[in-house]
Symmetry: none
Subunit: 233 residues, 4 copies
DNA sequence: CATGAATGAGTATTCATTCAT
DNA sequence: CATGAATGAATACTCATTCAT
């Protein structure tokens, strides 16, 4: 007998079909918004790209604004998850600290320079005045979590005696700034390719500066070699 | 008594009037573009804001695109000039290096966080895919000059024995990144006010990290406070 | 009692309604184009005249150009059909050849001098440089078919021994030229009325000249070929 | 002594300069109107083509309408003069009538198919509803004169016993119709080239038909009027 | 619910025409 | 008189949104 659950290929009137369509719309919407910007993107183009009729978009998301919010939020969450995973990979019991930071830094930079991430940032910059709430949403679910997580890891490294820092949040900000700042200009906000070597160089330089400023040297003796720095504070 | 010759404020049909009108259009255009973005900004609104008729805009700039290019370029040049002036104020014979860097950093951050600068960056981010050439123009006449100038100053400080750095360009990038990176998120891309104290704190933290990483300690005696850092190299 | 099913005059949102709207647009478009010329005709005016909204015009025809092509082609086809029907009414077994030619000629001239036909020709003349393809389309589906059909009939009359001619196509051209040429100037390209008598006179004169040049005289006896014509004068 | 009449090269403030400019404007105007049609032609383009400033056009002709009237009238007069000269070349004492008619017909057809003449007719057709008076002016000073002149010549030929016709005006109309009618379609209203051979063939066919219908045969004997025509085939 | 069709509002651009010089 | 500059009016085209099916 015919199973009561519809086949996955028959998308008509099935919850699965609805979800598929919803996701297709969201994906198409982000692509079109990223390509054309909010104002120039047309709901027609999005509906076409998603393979649905225009009113379907309205049924699902209420209108262009709602669609934008959802599309950006969804993409931002995905991006945040990736970055968080990288940060969580940074333990406090590493052997070679600089090496570990380079590893994490490189992976973070890969996230940061992904096509999707650039598009996301360009969209946020472009539409922040029209959609301040979207920025807040993304920020709250994204960079803030991320920043906190990174600050946590740095704090643990400080507790483990590997870093000497007062304000882990500030240090996290600076670590990220050292990583990403130089790339922003060189890649023309993501519109021009940056070689992997350039990425690695940037990471190396960032970690070099960061460790010079914050790392506790590991002498054979356990005594604090850089006590002078503490005095400098 | 008022002379019979038209006062300079009577701008009708004088060459001066033409220039005045051109500048008024450019100013209004940047304001409207910054507020609404390129696509949503209407030439009507710009003409109204500038107090001229719409065709006058077309006579002067050929169309919306040309107007955008000119408005952004002009504003960018102004902004660049300000930043350059600040950098040029950084001498190599300073007494208190950290203090000097804080001074320069603070002034740079003021430039960076001016309303105009935020608007400029938001516009560039938003429209870089539609106007890649504008980004190049602005970049060439702006940040690149600025970066070079800052790198020059840092190189001189290195020659003067005050900084220990291999790649002045990289160091300049990092200095700027440490200054501006943390502010970007805190001010929500310039849409929310940042207290002067927060600015100063950011500058202090940036300079602290920078000097820790790059400054040569200055003791009369050889007992540098941060001799540990030298060891760390 | 009124049936619950919508009457055929209720054209809203029914396929019939769509076709009605399409036809209304075409009709209005031709009228406006004919009145104002392509450049001065406004899509607004056409939409108004058709009783639809402007975007509906764009949905159906893509733009002003497409609308022009369709409107002209459609009208031309209608006009051609009328002329063809007249030509097909010219048999080769007529008793009184001159009478038959006058009959056909008069009917053709009625077609030629209809308001619609004048408007069509004026439009084609006016816009042939902007729409050479429209001229070709109309020509191919119109005058060429028409000319061929007339040439066919004349050829049959020649075979039937009623006409003496070498080149039926040329003869058809000349027959049409004799009919229409004199009317063109007298009616000021259709902008001034021509009396029915003037039409009939023109037809008579055209047929007179044509038969003098091409008709085989029909004496009871096989004698002198054109003596009858002289008598007719 | 310096001559009181300004040199022809100094066009400033001289009557000659004014006239030169006026003619330059008229020429440019006709060219642009012919190319773009009245509505699409821009005064700017005309002024540019004439090498003058826009207000100069207004000073000379009052506006676009006046300019159109003058440009078309002037060109039409030139064209009429040419055709009239051809007609005046048709004497009544010709030896070979058919030959003479072919000669005149060919020259008339050359006038008719000149680029300028096509442009003129296209313009008149296009704008007759907007400028009925222009049509009248042109018609009065052009085709009417021309038609009268041709009718005169035919009448003289009739008086000289060479043609047998009742209504010379009608005959003139028909002669022109036989000449020009077939060319109109073949050349796509002048937008496609017609070979000289085709022109000559058309002339020959027109004259053949015309003489068959109207020429008085010139046998040594007074025998059958059109027998010679049959021999001519 | 998904859809084809229709619409009202809005935008960039062009152009004939007019000043003040 | 000829000109550079400015303008008011008009136009083709687009798009977010909504019905009726």
């Amino acid at each position: 007998m015919a199973g009561p659950h519809p086949s996955t290929t028959d998308s008509r009137h099935t919850p699965r079909g609805r979800i598929d369509k919803r996701n297709a719309i969201l994906e198409a919407a982000f692509a079109v918004f990223a390509r054309d910007g909010y104002a120039k993107a047309s709901v027609d183009a999005i509906a076409d790209a998603a393979g649905v009729a225009k009113p379907t978009v309205y049924n699902h998301f209420g209108g262009k604004e709602g669609l934008f919010r959802q599309a950006v939020s969804t993409t931002a969450e995905r991006a945040t998850a990736r970055s968080l995973a990288v940060v969580h990979g940074l333990g406090s019991d590493v052997d070679d600290l600089a090496h570990a930071l380079r590893e994490v830094g490189y992976r973070l930079l890969l996230c940061y320079t992904s096509e999707e991430a650039w598009a996301l940032r360009r969209l946020l910059h472009a539409e922040i005045s029209r959609f301040p709430d979207v920025f807040d949403t993304v920020r709250g679910s994204g960079p803030d979590q991320f920043s906190e997580a990174l600050a946590d890891r740095l704090a643990r490294l400080a507790l483990a005696g590997r870093l000497r820092l007062e304000d882990p949040v500030r240090a996290a900000e600076q670590f990220v700034a050292l990583l990403t700042g130089p790339v922003e200009g060189r890649s023309a906000l993501g519109t021009r390719p940056v070689s992997d070597q350039e990425l690695r160089d940037t990471v190396a330089a960032a970690v070099e500066t960061f460790t010079r400023a914050f790392a506790v040297p590991r002498g054979r003796l356990g005594d604090g070699p850089s006590s002078g720095q503490e005095a400098a504070l």
